[in-house]
Assembly symmetry: C2
Homo-oligomer: 349 residues x 2
DNA sequence: TTGAAAGCGGTACCAA
DNA sequence: TTGGTACCGCTTTCAA
């Protein structure tokens, strides 16, 4: 039926072992032999059997990328950044890794399920992107899963969430708190005093950190936070819309809105426009992430600029162990805001 | 090291074969035995070895989803729709399929590369979403790849692109032409006569079909297409922005713009706003897809509404072989589906 | 209903 | 530099 390595070996008049060596390119093979093998591969249209290879080598070329919401461009950028950085070590035409993008939808159960699925596949690496859920039981469950994965040789990368102790994971964190602070400082600088805040879901690290930054800025400026001016919701457009309507209902005198991320900001803008308010003439809006499409919808955005795609790519590179120099504190970015690896030093490389 | 099926067998005092049967649930096993096995699995924290399983069974539980641009929410919606529909037949806790979202970036080479990678993994199914490239050589190459995949037992689904002969593929197509026509008809109905058209990339099925629909509508209304009022570009925001600026430069008197998809429409809106034009007071904008976030940015959008997520889910279900009966708006005709967004009435194939 | 054992297609160690 | 060959961990007849 399907062509196997043995078929190729027969055709090239060599042993299966030799074919394997040629294909993996990690062993010396005479040029002439190699030619013959490659020719046979080509003629037979041979395609390596991934599962067999993974079984024998005890590792696969799959890389899992967990995202909270695949319909959110933010995660799309992250995913494609990682994807573009996980070329295998062999450099061969066929020696590539396959990125498996898993959509958790922000659900703790699905997060664990996917982790198990990736463990089952003996994934080469797993990249967890976006904020983490803060529920203690879940955090413990994830930590234990990650530990097992690491034990089995899977490289673990955390991109945008707090480090996990003893998981041998590379952690790349964003300065959510600082970002949140700057965003609000920016609005304060424009003279705004009544600022609504559309926060992310409760129990999420990013939600809390950004909100803390916001409050920090208010406090530093001596502005008292009006009660009811913070509304929580999921990180999507609908939630941003709903939350903003809610804010307007509570206090129609606000002059600025901070959105916990750009997708949310889009929803906020929609609600404001619908209410007959103009942006930024009547109300300023500031979003958090660095999504290209929101630049003009969210004028204040430019004050905070996280090169997330680059950060994700870098995390992927670190996970694959082909990082040149240590990440160090800040050199990842040239922008206004810093992205810093939590430990500052890549671990487990 | 890692726990194997044999370990579980030993602990449960049964043979490996029995454990396998319990796990797969496709064989009669005494209730008591099953309990014992499940208990052992639990105690040992056993996780099936995917590659080994795939090798022995000659098929894996991976489902590949090819998308043109993972940062485009359109594909995110498609991907998550497929993902939510590919639960395995077993229904077991561990019997799930894993969706592999592959980002081709619209590149022919990467499309083929991913197809090979999935072939190597012995994927259970492959779903190709979005418009296809029309280059003859590439079409042939893809067709041949798909045929091989099908031969090897991989189910192939085409979602949003033309059927491929002899590939044994399920094809789900959208009425791009009809949609394009209606969009323009809508604008014509509003009284517009000078309509700019921001088209997708050349050599793409969706680009051509939608554009044909546009021209059809113009012709039917007796409106002559002004030269230079069609500009091509990729399906992203930046292209929409650039193309619209270009259009404005060529003819500042246009009163409406059709964008070949929603992401492009967002860019178009940005360019118009930047030019000091108001939407829809000065210029109407119509996008094509059915993305939730663009509803207000593109007021005319509601004239065309394709239930894409549902369609993708349906395609996934069909591929997995558990399709029941056709529902309204979607019809199954000889393995091919036609989704007609605007009227909701299925068209013949 | 359960067990024994022969593969599935590669990989990598040991020799030659 | 190349060949021989034990596995890798699971599935699936074939018997019992």
């Amino acid at each position: 039926m399907t062509v196997t390595l043995a078929d190729v070996a027969a055709r090239a008049q060599v042993s299966p072992a030799t074919v394997s060596r040629v294909l993996n390119g990690n062993y010396p093979v005479a040029a002439a032999t190699r030619e013959r093998v490659l020719k046979a591969v080509d003629e037979l249209d041979y395609v390596l059997n991934g599962p067999a290879s993974a079984l024998a080598a005890a590792t696969s070329d799959l890389v899992g990328v967990l995202v909270n919401d695949i319909a959110d461009p933010f995660f799309g950028i992250m995913a494609s950044a990682v994807q573009s950085e996980i070329v295998g070590p062999g450099g061969r035409a066929g020696g590539e890794r396959l990125a498996v993008v898993c959509n958790t939808g922000g659900s703790p159960e699905r997060e664990l399920t996917y982790l198990t699925l990736l463990q089952r596949q003996r994934a080469a690496a797993v990249v967890l992107t976006g904020g983490a859920i803060e529920d203690a039981a879940h955090v413990a469950a994830v930590a234990s899963k990650l530990r097992r994965l690491a034990e089995a040789g899977t490289r673990v990368v955390l991109c945008g969430r707090p480090p996990v102790p003893d998981a041998g994971a590379v952690a790349l964190t964003f300065d959510n708190r600082g970002g949140g602070r700057e965003l609000t400082e920016h609005l304060l600088g424009l003279g705004h005093r009544r600022i609504g805040y559309v926060a992310g879901p409760e129990e999420r690290t990013t939600t809390r950190d950004r909100l803390e930054g916001h409050r920090e800025a208010l406090a530093a400026a001596g502005v008292e936070e009006s009660p009811g001016l913070v509304v929580h919701g999921s990180y999507d457009r609908a939630a941003g819309y709903a939350a903003t309507r809610e804010l307007l209902g509570r206090d129609s005198s606000l002059t600025a809105v901070v959105a916990a991320n750009d997708t949310v900001a889009l929803g906020a803008c929609a609600a404001l426009r619908e209410a007959g308010l103009r942006i930024p003439e009547d109300v300023s809006v500031a979003g958090f992430d660095d999504l290209p499409f929101s630049v003009d919808a969210v004028p204040a955005l430019t004050t905070v600029r996280l090169p997330l795609a680059e950060a994700a790519a870098r995390a992927g590179r670190i996970a694959m162990g082909r990082e040149a120099a240590p990440v160090g504190g800040v050199d990842v970015v040239g922008g206004e805001l810093m992205v810093r690896g939590s430990t500052g030093v890549p671990r487990g490389v």
